[in-house]
C-alpha cells in the first residue's frame, strides 16, 4: 500500500522534520539570504507547537555562536543558512567542528557575491569544505526531509560527535512544492535516541572547551579531528540502513544509475542527479551506454565506494556547480581526479561547470554535456574545465 504523501514546499517539510526531531534550540538570522526553513520553525515555536528556544540573533556569526553554546550544554541544535550568511558564519563554523559539537544545519546552497546573487550554486558550501563538518547532498524534497532526521542521528552518535550539514540546492529544492512522505512521531522517536553528551558543560562536571593550543599539541588535535570524521563513516552507513528499514528508502554514499554495463558516466552532486537520470534514460534508448554516478556523501569522502562505482568505466563527465579560481576547475572534479590518480585503468575525467547562480541546466543541456563530454574524453581532451553555456 502506498503511504500518504503531502504536497508541500521543501523548506517547510525540512523545518517540520527538525520539529519532529524535537529540537531544543534554533538560532538563525532571519533575513536574506535565508529560507522558509527557519521562518517556519519560528512560527511553530511562536504558536506553541514546538517547545524550543528560537533565538533570532543579530548576525549569522552570532547564530553559529549560539548554536555552539547550545550544543556544548547538550541541547539538540538546528540552524539554517545560505550564501553570504554562511560566509559571515564561517569563523565559528570551523570551531563547531573542531570542538566536536553536534548540530544540524540545512545549508541551502547559493552563490556568493559579487556580483550580488543569491541564486543556486555550490560556491558557499565549497568555501567551508575543509571545516571538518560532515556534508551530505540531497536531490529532492523527500531526501531533504529524510536527511534532516538522519543528520541528527549521525551528529549526536557518541562515535561521531560532529556537526552535519544537509546541503540542498537553493530555490531548485528549497522553494519547490513536492510530494513528501512524512514519518510518524513515534518512528522518529525510535530512530532518534535522546541526545546525551558525555562532557556537556555543567557546573557539576566542569570542563574547558576551545582551549589554547600550543605548537606542542595542535598537530595532535588535528589528527584527532581527521580520525574523528573518518570514524563517522560506519555510523553514517548504519543510520542510513536503519532509516531504510523503517521507510523503505535506502541511501548510500555513492549512488549509481544504469552503470553496470555503462562505458562512461556522468557524475553529479545535488539536485542535478534527477535530471541526469532522465536524460540517461533517453540516451539509453538511442543506444548510448551511459550511466549516472551520484555523490551523496561529500565529507568524509567515500573514496573506496567511489573507486568501486567507476571501476572499468572509460570516462567520467563531472558536472560541477562552483569554480576554484586559478585552480584545477570544479571542486568535485578536482576531488575525483585526486581519488582516481594512480588507479590502474582509471577512467579519464572531463569537467564541466554549469548552473552558476541559478542558471538553468535543462535536459537538453545535460544531453549536450554528456555527448560533447564523451567526445572530449575519447579525444583525450581532458585538461581543465569547460564553463558550459558561456557566451563569447
Amino acid at each position: 500500500m502506498e503511504k500518504a504523501r503531502k504536497g508541500i514546499e521543501v523548506s517547510i517539510a525540512l523545518a517540520e522534520a527538525a520539529a519532529q526531531a524535537d529540537v531544543d534550540v534554533v538560532a538563525a538570522y532571519p533575513i536574506t539570504p535565508q529560507t522558509h526553513i527557519v521562518e517556519h520553525l519560528a512560527e511553530l515555536v511562536a504558536e506553541g507547537e514546538l517547545d524550543a528556544e528560537f533565538v533570532p540573533v543579530d548576525s549569522e556569526h552570532s547564530a553559529m555562536s549560539v548554536c555552539c553554546g547550545s550544543a556544548a550544554v547538550g541541547a539538540r541544535t538546528f540552524t539554517s543558512t545560505s550564501s553570504q550568511g554562511l560566509a559571515l558564519m564561517s569563523e565559528i563554523f570551523f570551531i563547531a567542528a573542531a570542538m566536536r559539537l553536534p548540530m544540524v544545519m540545512a545549508l541551502a546552497n547559493r552563490s556568493l557575491s559579487s556580483p550580488l546573487s543569491i541564486w543556486n550554486d555550490h560556491t558557499d558550501t565549497m568555501m567551508v569544505r575543509d571545516a571538518g563538518w560532515i556534508h551530505v547532498f540531497v536531490e529532492n524534497g523527500q531526501e531533504s526531509y529524510d536527511h534532516t532526521l538522519w543528520a541528527f542521528r549521525v551528529a549526536e552518535d557518541p562515535q561521531v560527535m560532529l556537526p552535519v550539514a544537509v546541503n540542498l540546492d537553493g530555490f531548485i529544492l528549497t522553494h519547490m512544492i513536492e510530494p513528501i512522505e512524512y514519518v510518524d512521531n513515534q518512528t522518529v522517536k525510535n530512530f532518534l535516541p535522546e541526545f546525551k553528551m558525555k562532557n556537556a558543560l555543567h557546573p557539576d562536571n566542569p570542563v574547558s572547551m576551545g582551549c589554547f593550543g600550543m605548537p606542542e599539541i595542535y598537530t595532535e588535535t588535528q589528527m584527532a579531528r581527521e580520525e574523528g570524521i573518518k570514524n563517522a563513516y560506519p555510523t553514517i552507513l548504519k543510520a542510513w540502513e536503519e532509516w531504510g528499514s523503517l521507510t523503505g528508502r535506502y541511501y548510500h554514499p555513492i549512488e549509481t544509475y544504469k552503470t553496470e554495463d555503462a562505458d562512461y558516466c556522468i557524475v553529479t552532486m545535488g539536485s542535478y542527479g534527477e535530471t541526469a537520470m532522465e536524460v540517461v534514460d533517453a540516451l539509453r534508448d538511442e543506444g548510448e551506454k551511459v550511466g549516472v554516478v551520484r555523490i551523496r556523501l561529500w565529507r568524509p569522502f567515500p573514496f573506496d565506494d567511489f573507486r568501486k562505482a567507476v571501476l572499468g568505466k572509460q570516462a567520467l563527465i563531472v558536472l560541477d556547480r562552483a569554480i576554484s579560481f586559478g585552480g584545477p576547475g570544479g571542486p568535485v572534479a578536482s576531488e575525483l581526479r585526486s581519488a582516481l590518480y594512480g588507479m590502474e585503468g582509471a577512467p579519464s575525467i572531463v569537467n564541466y561547470v554549469a548552473g552558476l547562480a541559478g542558471r538553468d541546466v535543462a535536459r537538453d543541456d545535460f544531453r549536450k554535456i554528456i555527448l560533447e563530454g564523451k567526445n572530449k574524453a575519447y579525444a583525450h581532451d581532458t585538461d581543465g574545465f569547460t564553463l558550459y553555456g558561456l557566451r563569447g
Binding site: 566536536r100 559539537l101 558525555k198 562532557n199 570542563v207 582551549c211 606542542e216 588535535t221 584527532a224
Partner: protein
Amino acid sequence: MAKPMEQIKWQELEVGAIAVEVGNAREYETGTWRSERPVVNKDQCIKCGVCWIFCPDACIIQAAQGHFEADLTYCKGCGICARECPVGCISMVSEEEG
C-alpha cells in the same frame, strides 16, 4: 597532574580536545616567556593593590608584610604593573642583567 603537553599522543586527547582537568593552566609556567621582571621597592609601596587589579595574568600576590609582588613562576614580564603603579615603586629589570 596532567601529562606534559609535548608527551600527549593524539589518541589520548578527549573528543574535541577539551580539558577535563580543571585549573590545569597552573601547570603551564608562563614565567619562562619573560625578558624583564618587575622589582618592587617595598619601602615606597603604599599597599594600594592597583598592580594586583591590573595584572592580566593574576600573578600578583600580597606578601605577609602587606606589599605586593609578582609570582615569577607565572609573570610574563609585560610591565603593566610598573606602568600602572601610582607611586612608581615598580621597575622593570632585564633578566639578562641578572
